[in-house]
Structures are given as structure tokens and as C-alpha cells.
């Protein structure tokens, strides 16, 4: 199979428009293909630059019907208020600094196993999750530290979990790939790709069930399912797109397309690389958005979350983003072209937001520096806390296997095994 020539696509300049994000032009188009950035190999010739320019300032909404998008109303010329801006900025800085600290700690032997860092993708997490309520749910993959942090899980709890300490959010039993929080409705943390999407669908189903069967009329909880480009080729993804659209579940499927599934380029793995197109195939809107731009992500997220909350059904959002580090801390990251990495590094979402906030006078340099300093302290404190926390004792081994420990059965002496004193010590034979 030969491809018609390799073409290097120039990256688009990021301009923060003062006008609303969705242009009328884009709104009137039913489908627009976007140039695919990131790989020096392309499967097909991408459309001309003019199309790229048309697309540059907007997010594309592709639906089965033409949707007239209303111009977004903003109170001022800005896309968000100062408070929102600072909140988002702080969240992104937290994500970045935390992940950098994870790398440090890993190489110092404080955490082990597979650790997948989120550097570069902060715009997606902050752009979406900061719009949620506490009762809304988030489901993620193994690249879940920052999703948990954005949702409100304390940095201490996440760091302790990574260190395998008993004060971790999952008592040290889950690890990097299994971040859960019942309090903040973080439903995982899954090691196998795709297996979280049905769980997210179930959470959305519960929301609908509560409203329609249990008659909790005000239950409008939304679920966000985050996953990557590799997962978009997996059966569970398609099965859940179908069910979510069929039953109009309050869920948003967020594809974090960072173009690489470990060493597999998205273009080499996918017959039609434009993932957003798969939404309309199942009867839901598919949106493509620049995932390195937190403001654009936020605008799209508002729409999608609003749709879900009003009971209008699911949305598929494809965020084009990039991970600055390797797939995991064990990945030598030799396959990706340094030029590609440099291009995306120039589009660092944090730098971009900082620039926007300062240029639009929403925040001063000093305020942002103060936030950065604060976050440094938060993360240092988290490390200290995790360091000083105790490791799980033997007695924790058999707890939590069953919600009802009678599930361990009846022993030869007629007593339930969980009543055996050795059980609580973790030394019982089960």
C-alpha cells in the first residue's frame, strides 16, 4: 500500500479572536475536514491551506442536520471572566507541576509500575472538568492523574496513592492507573483502554434512571468519558456511542487525540482518522476542537455539557492535543519526530492561556506568578505528605475484596472466614 506522497502540514497560528468562536461560515458547513497535524506521514493529501485558514479560528460542528449556531454572547469582549480565567490557569498549572513532580519521584524510586503523564493535554482536562458540578462524574483512562485533580481530588491523596501509601485516594490499592473518588465522582482510572467507557455510560444511565424512574426530577448529572485516539478504534467505544445516542444519555465522549497510541500513529491505525465523524454515524453531533487551546475547548465543552444536561443526548468531542512526554515513564519515545514535538511545544496550552490573560488584561503577571508559587507549595506539600504517610499494613490485604466480606465463605469450622481473627490481620487462608 503506497501513500500519495508525504506532506508536512504547517501548524496553524493560534489567534485568540475577540469574536465568538463559532464563525457563521463554519456553522453553515455540514462537514469540513481539518488538516491533520502531527505526523510527517499522511495517508492522503490534506486539503489546501485555505480550508485550514477557514477552520483555524473555529470549532467545527458536524451533525446530521445543519445546525445554525448562534453567536456566543459574552458580557465583555472576553471569553471568560477573571475568576474563571484564574481558576482555569491554576488548574492547568497544578496539572503540569504535579505531573513533572511525578516524573521526578518516579526516577527517585518513590513510585513504580506504569505511570502515564498528562503534560501538554491540560487544556482538555481543565477546559471540560472545570465546568462540572461536584455531582457530575468523570471517567478516565490510565492517564488519569490530572482528571482526578481537576475534578477536585486533593493533590495529597493522588500523590499518596502513587506512592502506594494507605492515605492514598484508593488506600494504595489502585495506583497510578486506578484513581477513584466517591466524594468527587471520579469513577476511575482504568488500565485497559475502552473499559471505562461502558462504566461512564452506566453512570449516565443512572442519571437518567434517577430522573425518570426514581422521580428525582432535578437530577441532571452529566458524565464525561475521557479516552484517547487508540480507544476510538475499540469495540466498546462504538457500542457505547450507539447506546448513549439510542437512549439519549447525559454523557459527553471526549477523545483526547494526541495522535499516538504508545508507538502507533493514529494515521497508521485508523481507516478514517477524523474521529469526530463517527458521532453523526451514531446519531449524535461530532465536534472537532483544537485541544491545545483551553478557551476553545471550554466553549465546545459548555455546549456539549449543556446539551447533556438538558436531556438532548450525547456529544462526541474530538480534541486534537499532544503529550509532551512519552506514553509512560518507561517509554523511550523514539518514534515521534522531534520537529513535531517542537511544533506542539510552541502551542503549549499554559503559555497560550497566560498570554491571553495578560494581553486581555484579565490578570497581571504578578497574579499568575503568585498562582504558580502557590501550586509549587501545594505539590511540595503533597510529596511531603505522601512521604510521611504509612505504607499499608498486612491487615489491609483482605479488606475491600468484597463489599460484603461474607463472600469469602464459610470455613471448615462453620464460621464465616471473615470472622476469623486472622482475617483482619490479613493472614487468614481464604
Amino acid at each position: 500500500m503506497s501513500f500519495s506522497g508525504a506532506k508536512i502540514i504547517q501548524p496553524l497560528c493560534i489567534r485568540y479572536p475577540d469574536t465568538p468562536v463559532i464563525s457563521d461560515q463554519a456553522a453553515n458547513r455540514i462537514t469540513t475536514s481539518s488538516p491533520f497535524l502531527g505526523s510527517t506521514r499522511t495517508l492522503r493529501r490534506i486539503q489546501s491551506v485555505s480550508a485550514a485558514q477557514r477552520r483555524s479560528a473555529s470549532a467545527i460542528v458536524a451533525v446530521a442536520d445543519v445546525v445554525k449556531e448562534k453567536k456566543l454572547k459574552s458580557n465583555k469582549n472576553h471569553l471568560l471572566t477573571k475568576e474563571e480565567g484564574l481558576e482555569v490557569y491554576e488548574d492547568m498549572i497544578l496539572g503540569r507541576v504535579f505531573e513533572d513532580m511525578c516524573a521526578q519521584m518516579y526516577y527517585r524510586g518513590k513510585m513504580f509500575g506504569f505511570v502515564h503523564l498528562y503534560n501538554g493535554q491540560e487544556a482538555v482536562s481543565s477546559g471540560f472538568i472545570k465546568l462540572l458540578k461536584k455531582e457530575d462524574s468523570v471517567v478516565s483512562t490510565y492517564r488519569d492523574h490530572v482528571h482526578a485533580l481537576s475534578k477536585g481530588v486533593p493533590a495529597r491523596a493522588v500523590m499518596s496513592e502513587l506512592f502506594g501509601k494507605t492515605t492514598g485516594c484508593c488506600r494504595g490499592q489502585g495506583g497510578s492507573m486506578h484513581m477513584f473518588s466517591a466524594e468527587h465522582n471520579v469513577l476511575g482510572g482504568f488500565a485497559f483502554i475502552g473499559e471505562g467507557i461502558p462504566v461512564a455510560t452506566g453512570a449516565a444511565f443512572t442519571s437518567k434512571y434517577k430522573r425518570e424512574v426514581l422521580k428525582e426530577a432535578d437530577c441532571d448529572h452529566v458524565t464525561l468519558a475521557f479516552f484517547g485516539d487508540g480507544t476510538a478504534n475499540n469495540g466498546q467505544f462504538f457500542e457505547c456511542l450507539n447506546m448513549a445516542a439510542l437512549w439519549k444519555l447525559p454523557i459527553v465522549f471526549v477523545v483526547e487525540n494526541n495522535l499516538w497510541a504508545i508507538g502507533m500513529s493514529h494515521l497508521r491505525a485508523t481507516s478514517d482518522p477524523e474521529i469526530w465523524k463517527k458521532g453523526p454515524a451514531f446519531g449524535m453531533p461530532g465536534v472537532h476542537v483544537d485541544g491545545m487551546d483551553v478557551l476553545k475547548v471550554r466553549e465546545v465543552a459548555k455546549k456539549a455539557i449543556g446539551r447533556a444536561r438538558r436531556g438532548e443526548g450525547p456529544t462526541l468531542v474530538e480534541c486534537e492535543t499532544y503529550r509532551f512526554r512519552g506514553h509512560s515513564l518507561a517509554d523511550p519515545d523514539e518514534l515521534r519526530d522531534p520537529a513535531e514535538k517542537a511544533r506542539y511545544a510552541a502551542r503549549d496550552p499554559i503559555t497560550a492561556l497566560k498570554k491571553y490573560l495578560i494581553e486581555s488584561k484579565l490578570a497581571s503577571e504578578a497574579e499568575l506568578k503568585a498562582i504558580e508559587k502557590k501550586i509549587d507549595e501545594v505539590v511540595e506539600d503533597a510529596v511531603e505528605f505522601a512521604n510521611e504517610s504509612p505504607v499499608p499494613s498486612r491487615s489491609q490485604l483482605l479488606e475491600n475484596v468484597f463489599a460484603d466480606p461474607k463472600g469469602f465463605g464459610i470455613g471448615p469450622d462453620g464460621r464465616y472466614r471473615c470472622e476469623d481473627p486472622k482475617f483482619t490481620q490479613g493472614t487468614a487462608q481464604v
Binding site: L187, T206, F408
Partner: protein, 408 residues
């Protein structure tokens, strides 16, 4: 995917099947004449008592159960002491249990293929969608892995779903969700989320359903930490276990058998819930402990009749709880009889019998007077041809022969 309303039909053959060899127990037509004679006796007694086998619809099964060779110790006193109870078939008992629990707790819901409008491929959920609505009895698309995962996600958020596999074999497609999320999620979340799901469906070897529809998944699931497995065998324990499974906060896999749905029994009118972890004493005895579950219980009871005629006194226990094993009931029995025969429908390799053998050896070795004998199905994909299919599962003559060998 074939759906069978009356899975029970053709006769269970009582032919001597003496050419079948099990690894532990060797019996073939070259054996002593007494063996042959035994087979002959079996056929004759079979012909008189339960012509055409155990699994005829209705009457025969009822006869078998009430004419059990000795009084069932587990017959609930309540049933005899109070109101007479009502008669129903096993699938109706399952539905009754399910409906009672749905009535009791609005968070209990059902999801699966054809459970709603169709009423379930074995009619276990008939009428429920009309009563409770399409959301509560949810007809899913054909996507086992995803709707099982959906049930798990719903359970994490507070619902109590019952996930039906139209045939247990289809749950192989849901193995990812069952193993990783169902079994392990409570642990990996540090106890923050519980998964009170019930995964149920018909399995086992039916009547010429072919290899893929005749699977016994209990052996595949048994290693998954964090789940419980139970197998029902009578209308009484079907209803009781269904209710117990729904009320349990643990994920429970309830194994039903395609050929047992039309068993009829009289069950109590008043509400009862059985214990998920306990085994059931079917017939107390002195000479040998026979451990079995699901459909093989009936083959064992049929063999028991023959054995009693020959002067043996087998103790038959339906283990019911496949994971974890009720080692108390089993242990007490072994301490009494000192001989164990396991009769199961699982494959030889890695089946429930294999685990049970290991557990018994580990815990009760000193009480055994003879090696444990385990009769399981052959390690073959279940053939379509009736004769071949018959030889893949354990038949009553083999059980009789095994007991005689054990008690020599």
C-alpha cells in the same frame, strides 16, 4: 442465537456408556459382570420410575423431587408447618424472586438482550417490562461487554442491576468487564465503590444446542477475585438465591441451567431468602458424600435410587455456592462418610470439581479413606449429535459405578 422455550424434551439416555473413561475412575465393558448387571438394573429401574429421563416437563420432575430417596433435610420446616405454598416452574420462581425484589427496591433494574418486550429468552422476565417500564427492564443492543460495563457503572452510582446473558456463553464477550471491573473495582478503588450486580443466565449442556451454546462458564470465572458464584437447581433455591443475590452488595454470578427451567415444585408462599454461601443437603446418608450442583443433581439423585436399591446409603449435597465453597457442610459430611465423589458438568480440566478436590484435600485429607473421585464432562466441545453429546456429560450409570468402586 437459538432461544429455547422448552429446552427439556428428549429422553436422557440411560444406556450403559461403559466405554467412557474418566481419568480417575476406570470402568469399561471389560469389567466384571456385576458392572454390566448394574447397568441392566439401572435401565430397568429407569424404565419403571422415570421413563424418558429426569427432564421431562412438569410431572416427572415433580415426582422425582417429592419421591427423593430419603427425606430432604433441607426441606424448610416453614413449608410444611404453615400454608401449603404454591406450585410453579423454575423460571417462574426466578421471576417471582426478581419481581419481589423489584417491588421492594426501586433501584433494582434488569438489563439484557430481549429481557423487556420479549420477556426473556427463557421467559424469566416475562411481563416485567409492561409493569415497570422500558427503562427499568432494559432491552439492550447486542453488545455484551458494553452493557455489562454499563450495569457496573450504574451499580457504582447506586443502582442494583441484574444483567442477563441470553446464554451464559455470551458472557465470554463480557469477560473484560466481569473480571476487571466487576471483580476488582471494589478493591482498586479502595472500597469506595461497590458493585452490587447480579449476572445471570442459562448455561450448561442442553439438548443438542451445539458447542458454543453448551458452555459451562463457572470454570472460567472462578479465579476472578471479588465475585461470588452460585448455581440454582430447584425452583425453591432458584427463587431464594435470586433474592439473596440481588440483596447482596457483592457481585454475584447466578448460573441457571437450560434444561432445568421447567422443573416444577411447590414453594412456600411466605417470603424467604436463602444464604448465598451455604450448600444444600439433598439427601443425608452414611456411606459416601456425593457433591454436585445444577443439573447433575438430578443425575445423582437418579443414580441414588439405584444405589439405595443396591444397599448403599449415599449422602448427596448440592453445593450451590460454587465460589466460595461451603466447607462446613462439606467437611461435616466428609467427616461422617470418609468418601467423596464429585459429580459435575464442568470440563475435567480446571473445573469446579478440580478446585473442590483441591480444597477438600487441603482441609480434610485426614478424614478420607479413599482418593477423591471426580466425575466431570469430557474435555471436548459439546458435539451436536445426540449420542456424542450424551457421552460428554456424566450419566447416572457412571455415578453408580463410581460409588460402587469407591465403597469397595
Amino acid at each position: 442465537m437459538a432461544s429455547i422455550f422448552q429446552g427439556v424434551g428428549a429422553a436422557t439416555s440411560l444406556s450403559s456408556s461403559t466405554s467412557i473413561e474418566t481419568k480417575k475412575f476406570h470402568f469399561c465393558s471389560r469389567r466384571s459382570p456385576s458392572e454390566r448387571k448394574a447397568c441392566f438394573v439401572v435401565v430397568r429401574s429407569g424404565g419403571v420410575m422415570v421413563d424418558g429421563g429426569l427432564n421431562r416437563i412438569g410431572g416427572r420432575a415433580e415426582q422425582l423431587v417429592t419421591n427423593a430417596v430419603a427425606a430432604k433435610a433441607d426441606t424448610p420446616a416453614a413449608a410444611t408447618a404453615s400454608k401449603p405454598g404454591h406450585e410453579l416452574l423454575l423460571f417462574e420462581a426466578l421471576r417471582e424472586g426478581l419481581e419481589e425484589e423489584m417491588e421492594r427496591d426501586a433501584r433494582v433494574c434488569v438489563m439484557g438482550e430481549d429481557v423487556g418486550h420479549y420477556g426473556g429468552s427463557y421467559k424469566v422476565t416475562r411481563g416485567l417490562a409492561q409493569k415497570y417500564g422500558d427503562l427499568r427492564v432494559l432491552d439492550t443492543p447486542i453488545a455484551e461487554n458494553s452493557f455489562t460495563g454499563m450495569g457496573i457503572g450504574a451499580a457504582m452510582m447506586g443502582l442494583r442491576p441484574i444483567i442477563e446473558g441470553m446464554n451464559m456463553g455470551f458472557l465470554l464477550l463480557a469477560f473484560n468487564q466481569i473480571s476487571n471491573n466487576c471483580g476488582m473495582l471494589h478493591y482498586t478503588s479502595g472500597g469506595q465503590f461497590k458493585i452490587p450486580v447480579v449476572i445471570r443466565g442459562p448455561g450448561g449442556v442442553g439438548r443438542q444446542l451445539g458447542a458454543e451454546h453448551s458452555q459451562r462458564l463457572e470454570s472460567y470465572f472462578q479465579s476472578i477475585p471479588g465475585i461470588q458464584m452460585v448455581a440454582c437447581s430447584t425452583p425453591y433455591n432458584a427463587k431464594g438465591l435470586m433474592k439473596a443475590a440481588i440483596r447482596s452488595d457483592n457481585p454475584v454470578i447466578l448460573f441457571e441451567h437450560v434444561l432445568l427451567y421447567n422443573l416444577k415444585e411447590r414453594i412456600p408462599d411466605e417470603e424467604y431468602v436463602l444464604n448465598l454461601e451455604e450448600a444444600e443437603m439433598v439427601r443425608p446418608g452414611e456411606h459416601v458424600t456425593i457433591l454436585t450442583y445444577s443439573r447433575m443433581r438430578y443425575h445423582v439423585m437418579q443414580a441414588a435410587k439405584t444405589l439405595v436399591n443396591k444397599g448403599y446409603d449415599p449422602e448427596v449435597i448440592d453445593i450451590r455456592s460454587l465460589k466460595p465453597f461451603d466447607l462446613y457442610t462439606i467437611g461435616n459430611s466428609i467427616k461422617k462418610t470418609h468418601r467423596v465423589l464429585i459429580v459435575e458438568e464442568c470440563m475435567r480440566t480446571g473445573g469446579i470439581g478440580a478446585s473442590l478436590t483441591a480444597a477438600i484435600t487441603e482441609n480434610f485429607h485426614d478424614y478420607l479413606d479413599a482418593p477423591i473421585v471426580c466425575l466431570s464432562s469430557q474435555d471436548v466441545p459439546t458435539p451436536y449429535a445426540g449420542t456424542l453429546e450424551e457421552w460428554t456429560v456424566v450419566q447416572p450409570p457412571q455415578i453408580v459405578a463410581a460409588v460402587e468402586q469407591l465403597c469397595r
